[in-house]
């Protein structure tokens, strides 16, 4: 996984466009790098395969929580309307699954949506207000029009001299070592 908090620096290389970045990602993957990332201001189609990433588990997490929300909603409705406070209203049954639908559905969607956002943030370890990449001036363009590869020095394949040279060979520019301050 992405151990960006390790000691040591990060090597940053800039690529010209999304196509070049995608090719670089494939080469990094094939060369056996693990602790690297490709930065762009928008998600690039096909990058997950190029980097060799597994599918995000967020879908399963959201599904489980949404189902728990649905169950919780029905339980709340059942317990309040039949056990704790049964009240006859126009002869309707205390437990009425048809009438319970809208509220249970709303609670399901609500819990799913919260987990979709906050689960995504948790998987991304956000908020993270300090990261060594932010020490690079050039990296300020990452969310504008820059396309960057970052390789953590902690990667077993990493070798300051050779990795830099190799990145240059595959089309990387403005290669720099960003140190944690």
């Amino acid at each position: 996984m992405n151990k960006m908090h390790s000691k040591g620096g990060v090597m940053l290389a800039e690529f010209e466009n999304p196509v070049k970045l995608l090719e670089a990602a494939q080469k990094l993957r094939d060369a056996g790098y693990k602790n690297f990332d490709c930065h762009s201001s928008f998600p690039i189609h096909g990058m997950d395969q190029a980097m060799g990433l597994k599918r995000s588990p967020l879908g399963y997490i959201v599904f489980v929580i949404a189902m728990l929300g649905l169950l919780g909603g029905i339980t709340l409705e059942w317990w309040t309307s039949t056990i704790d406070y049964p009240l006859v209203i126009s002869g309707k049954p205390f437990f009425s699954y048809q009438a319970y639908g809208p509220v249970a559905f709303a609670i399901m969607v609500l819990s799913g949506a919260f987990v979709a956002l906050f689960g995504m943030l948790a998987l991304n370890k956000l908020p993270m207000y300090y990261h060594k990449l932010f020490n690079s001036r050039n990296f300020e363009r990452a969310m504008n029009d820059g396309f960057f590869v970052s390789i953590d020095a902690a990667d077993p394949n990493f070798d300051q001299k050779n990795t830099g040279k190799w990145l240059e060979e595959i089309g990387g520019k403005n290669i720099e070592m960003v140190e944690a301050e």
Binding site: P18, T80, Y85, P102, V103, A106, N124, P127
Partner: protein
């Protein structure tokens, strides 16, 4: 004989580029961020001065309403629901276009949504805020409004989960919350873009806090895209369910004119119809003021007009179907309610509704008219008027002549009904102006993603 096969033209498959002028990635950032970064235009102060004055008028009237009670409205018996409920349904309906654009069009891979989704979602949030005010202040004893929420309390009482009014609280409350989460998710990368451009310390700090330290790495995008897809998937049934639940406020009653099974789909179609009319109105003004013609092109507006044409006809079909069922169902009260609706004391409202909602959108059959900015602007305004009248017709014309002729009455709004409705526009536009001033109004990261050079199969990258 020519050997070239490249000359074959396929006009059907030919699509105009979504973003005109072939901007670079940097040009997109520059154009959109500059709107929020530049000095505040003078006109903005004028506009917010007017809208916030109206908003304050709304707040003052609400205070008076809490002090005096809902008798300050023109309500009577039998018309116990008046403009407040009309306004509630009107504003909730407006919100639907934002969610349709952000969720359903996303699932259908309609890439043209990227230019308009940000401010359509903002519009949704602000419209739902306006909507929630009206039933909130209608309860009479507003200080115990929290009784509607299932909270353990000293009275050992619980709300009635079999009541559509309670469903409504959950449906609309969920709708607002989910729309807010969706909107914020979309904003994170754009706020990070603006953070990295920020010149002053205070800007950097505020944008830094809200962008959460986003770095744009693909390991982040991977989860982000999944979250976006899931939120779209969760919001899609919401688009259809929220207004269905709102319609059950009416449909589960026994009032002729309300008690029909057509209400949920009819309300949803109407909501999308009115929502797109509002998005179109706002888009036409915004693109003009901020020079965004290359981002929100005539092509975008034309597509919205087509949606208005389709949903307008669904609504027209529902009007006709209601009449047919009233006749075919053979219930005297139902028949009377509909004849009274079209030819009774509120016939003027009914025919305003028919003209604006059924006749006006028909002009969009013509390519020339649906690509003309002034024409579509006026049409969108008329549709908004018509959709307000639709709710007025449903609420008031069904109530004012009930089962017992001796209790029939005519409902007229008071100055407070009118003032609060106008004030709710003040609130809406105040929020919208604040949004235009401080937040990237077009989703930069999404627009960049639909540029031709963003395609990872695009030869040569940057042109």
């Amino acid at each position: 004989m020519s050997t070239s096969v490249k000359t074959i033209d396929t006009p059907v498959l030919h699509e105009e580029p979504l973003i005109r002028g072939n901007p670079t990635f940097d040009a997109v950032t520059e154009k959109i961020s500059a709107i929020a970064e530049a000095k505040t235009p003078k006109m903005w102060y004028v506009a917010i001065g007017i809208s916030s004055s109206l908003m304050l008028m709304l707040f003052a009237m609400i205070l008076y309403l809490i002090w005096e009670g809902i008798g300050i409205w023109g309500l009577n018996i039998p018309v116990g629901w008046g403009w407040a409920i009309v306004n509630f349904v009107f504003w909730v309906g407006i919100g639907h276009a934002g969610t349709l654009i952000s969720a359903i069009l996303f699932l259908f891979r309609q890439k043209w949504r990227t230019s308009i989704n940000r401010f359509a979602e903002a519009m949704t949030l602000f419209a739902v805020i306006c909507a929630l005010i009206f039933p909130g202040i209608h309860v009479g004893r507003i200080w115990v409004a929290y009784w509607m929420i299932p909270l353990p309390n000293q009275m050992v009482m619980w709300p009635n989960f079999r009541s559509p009014l309670l469903w409504d609280i959950f449906a609309v409350g969920t709708y607002f919350t989910v729309s807010l989460l969706f909107w914020y998710t979309g904003l994170i990368p754009d706020l990070a873009t603006m953070r990295d451009r920020a010149k002053t310390k205070i800007r950097k700090l505020i944008l830094g806090i809200f962008s959460l330290g986003w770095r744009g790495g693909n390991r982040q995008w991977q989860h982000y895209e999944m979250a976006y897809l899931l939120l779209a998937g969760l919001s899609t049934p919401l688009v259809l369910s929220v207004h269905s639940v709102v319609s059950t406020d009416f449909a589960t009653s026994v009032i002729p004119g309300w008690h029909t099974t057509i209400f949920p789909p009819y309300f949803v179609a109407g909501a999308i119809f009115s929502g797109f009319a509002m998005v179109s109105t706002l888009a036409i003004i915004t693109r003009k003021i901020y020079g965004l013609e290359n981002f929100i092109t005539v092509n975008h507006l034309e597509k919205m007009n087509k949606i208005m044409l389709v949903t307008g006809m669904m609504v027209g079909y529902a009007y006709g179907c209601e009449f047919f069922i009233a006749w075919y169902g053979g219930n005297d009260y139902e028949r009377f309610a509909f004849i009274n609706r079209a030819f009774g004391p509120y016939a003027w409202a009914y025919w305003t509704m028919i003209s604006c909602n059924v006749l006006v959108p028909q002009i969009f059959w013509s390519k020339k008219l649906r690509t003309s900015i002034p024409v579509m602007f006026i049409a969108a305004l008329l549709i908004n008027v018509g959709m307000w009248f639709e709710r007025f017709v449903i609420v008031v014309s069904s109530l004012h002549r009930d089962f017992l002729p001796s209790s029939w009455d005519y409902y007229t709004p008071t100055v407070f009904d009118i003032g609060m409705f106008v004030g709710s526009f003040g609130l809406f536009f105040t929020l919208f102006l604040v949004f235009l001033r401080f937040v990237p109004i077009i989703a930069m990261s999404e627009v960049k993603g639909v540029l031709p050079q963003a395609d990872s199969h695009h030869e040569g990258g940057h042109q």
